[in-house]
Amino acid sequence: MSDTSSVSGWDSHRDDTSDSSVFTSMTMSFLQELPSYRSLIRRRTTILGRDKTGGTLLKPASSENRVSSEAGRSEKEHLGSQSIRKYALNISEKRRLRFGPQRFFREIQEAQVKYLSEWDQWKQYSTKSWKRFIEEAKELASHLELWKNDIRSIEGKFGTGIQSYFSFLRFLVILNLVIFIIIFLFILLPIILTKYKITDSTFLIVPSNEVDMRCKVYPMNSTGLIYFYTYMIDLLSGTGFLEWTSLFYGHYTVDGVKFKNFTYDLPLAYLLSTVAYLALSLLWIVKRSVEGFKQNLVRSEEQYQSYCNKIFAGWDFCITDESTAKLKHSSILYELKTDLVEERIRQKVAQRTPEETLRIYSLRMLLNAIVITVLAACFYAIYEATIFSQEHMKKEINKMVFGENLLILYLPSIVITLANFITPIIFSKIIRYEDYSPAFEIRLTLLRCVFMRLATICALVFTLGSKITFCDNEDCRVCGYNHKLYPCWENQFGQEMYKLTIFDLIINLAVTLFVEFPRKLLVTHCSSWKLIRYWGQQEFGIPDNVLGIVYAQTICWIGSFFSPLLPAIATVKFIIIFYVKEISLMYTCRPSTRPFRASNSNFFFLLVLLIGLTLAFIPLGISMTHIPSSKACGPFTNYNISWDVVPKTVSTFPSALQTLIHSITSEAFAVPFFIVIWQLRLSDLPRVTQPSHHVLFHCPGWSTQTGSDSTQRAVGYGKSRQALSHSETYSCSGRDEKPTKLILNTILVPSKLTELPY
């Protein structure tokens, strides 16, 4: 299939108008004449030359010189630069291409050395050694990658869909660890250093006279003899002895730590570290989602439904396991058959009569109303449960029976978990009647479940907040919050979040131990019963599991302000969940027959996580800026609201700095600034986000021959809007006819593909 005509044509247009330097043009012309190079070029153009002929079509006839000069320049680059890797040649040919004939190369090298000064030589040497250092550091870092072997083996056995879940879990472990390190360094460390007399520092407590004494009353429970079950209840619910430990906000009732040379402002550190780890989480998630973005941007349903995608990119080349391969074959068959069915449905939909359409839409509205009713019912149940739990917690706990205590304390968690368990079942039943296409069904159910999970946390937080700020008599208006019931309301918040976390972990463990393993045992040993066979083995449902860990992470973010050790607890929890899920996957689950696309799964996971983070900002923001901080405990006893510590600190700066800060934070500056930053961020991905208008031209009158003639048939691309208007100036190579525009595709193409030699 050698294309000699195009090669000679291409070569003859080469002239050395490109570079003025004699040196490079000499090398170029010499290299072109070498027979080994000519044969390489011929071989290369048969591979890349398909593109070259396409390119010939598009370049307007007048600028052929420009083409050759561009090719010449790129030639020179390719000989030396890293893009040698992109050539579809084997290694020995690439080596020859890179170094050229040995004799001549040595001459070039010697000539070059003469021109290189000592500085350049040293620079070369240092860049080489720096590269080596970077390589070794990278190798070391890859050894430290957490759980690399586990995730590799999961990928080989279960495919990339499930592997992406475990990678996501690993990311959350590392994120929580980093958050805890921030909290430890800035909040815990000074206190530990002072408490255990490691450094010579003291706590600084500033009594304030402005605050009413009634707000400062914080009754401590009697620390007499504690029964064991009270101890257990305290451990599980964060009350009692745990309330005074560094687990909760109330422990940090200091206004500063006085070291030898300076005073460490703990309230400021507390607030700023909260802002810091929230910002870090946001940036990290955005960075990760952008990396996934660069691969594919078009996410319309049709792209995934495309048959080309399913056939050519259908097989997961990572699979190494025999049984997984069998499963993959059957899952591909299932998917293709479903597509046929879906297409028949689509045809049916297109042929719908108006009455049917009206009926369908009214049915959908009714079902959506039912969904909203279900959600409202759940929120109301959570509201009631929280109020009940809060009221009864105030009674004498040790007078109640053990089980009743725990039930009342955990009532909100129990209601939330039940709601999260029942509503997906209801949603999946409802959506069958709504008559959507299967792909859309999955998306909509997922969306509803995400909303449900994250909104339940909001409902709980809102209920607590309303109880805390609710005042029905004059008394509590003094402090701004209900100081009779909640002398230290941040502790209450922290306790609720702590209870949710612990309960979530317990439920996960219990479901694995008491539902999944028995199910597997039943299926393997009692498979003669029809019911058991119908129930079948557990499937690893990726969306449900992902929602579970996003839910846990959202709780962690909300609770970290009120309970600084919560990220550490969350880290340990996620590590436990990783191993539990891995064991459960290996021993009890079968991979699902319905394929979950890995390509959009990363983006989906990070999107849901981002929604969770945004939802976490709301209660934190409100509690920091609107609800007055407790005066009986915590670092902010001397401030009205927690945020006040920042303006107070700014007012201690020198006045020039103060005016600068005021001007930066004023609206007149902030809004244009953020707009500029946003533009810069978007311009980081310019070639990715700018649409590349691809126009396909077709040269009429050419026969559909196979074999040697075929490379001359023209299918080419125009890369810009100009291509559309200038189609008259293009001509089909070798003929005089004008090309006709066949198809206009406005697609967003990753930048690397636009570098192709077209």
């Binding site: 990278k138 995608n309 075929s710």
Partner: protein
């Protein structure tokens, strides 16, 4: 199961391979290890060759329905030298650029008549391999072929040329993720 002369790779060789392929240092060393375990006793690894059967039975390719095509595309004269294996691993590595992967994917899929195009027979063969059976219903086969050509055949010649294939793969969101082999261990 012979072992060829255990010659550790020098830094320069590693660097050269890193410049010429998309593989990381660790991946190159892993492939070197595997290659040395498989090649015949006493031979220097740079001169030894492996048969297509040996490569086909590597864990990475053992269950792949396209393994014979992969071996055909990447071998020279029906054998694999060390650099051939490196070249193959480079195309399948996670760091490889899309254009390289698409180039080789086209070569792997353009099968039967080797005419440089993916025609209907090639498509039928690909689908049969994907479903691991030659007993695929005619209706399903024809339907799929019709859809694929409808989506990507721009010049209506009932075949996919390289440009058309490339255009289709650039829109495909799963291609980069699925056309990837990470681990070449034995």
């Amino acid at each position: 199961m012979g072992q060829c002369v255990r010659h550790p790779m020098s830094w320069e060789e590693l660097e050269e391979y890193q410049a010429l392929t998309f593989l990381t240092r660790n991946e190159i060393l892993c492939i070197h290890d595997t290659f040395c375990k498989l090649c015949p006793r006493g031979k220097y690894y740079k001169e030894a060759t492996l048969t297509m059967d040996q490569i086909s039975s590597l864990p990475a390719l053992r269950v792949n329905p396209f393994r014979d095509r992969i071996c055909r595309v990447f071998s020279h004269d029906d054998v694999f030298s060390f650099e051939d294996v490196l070249g193959m691993a480079s195309v399948f590595s996670a760091q490889a650029c899309p254009s390289l992967k698409i180039e080789y994917a086209f070569r792997i899929y353009a099968d039967i008549n080797e005419n440089g195009f993916i025609d209907e027979d090639d498509l039928k063969c690909i689908i049969q391999r994907l479903l691991n059976t030659t007993n695929v219903g005619d209706e399903l086969l024809n339907n799929l072929t019709k859809h694929i050509l409808g989506e990507s055949d721009m010049d209506n010649d009932h075949m996919l040329s390289f440009s058309e294939f490339e255009h289709a793969m650039s829109k495909s969101p799963d291609f980069m993720n699925s056309f990837r082999i990470n681990c070449w261990d034995l």
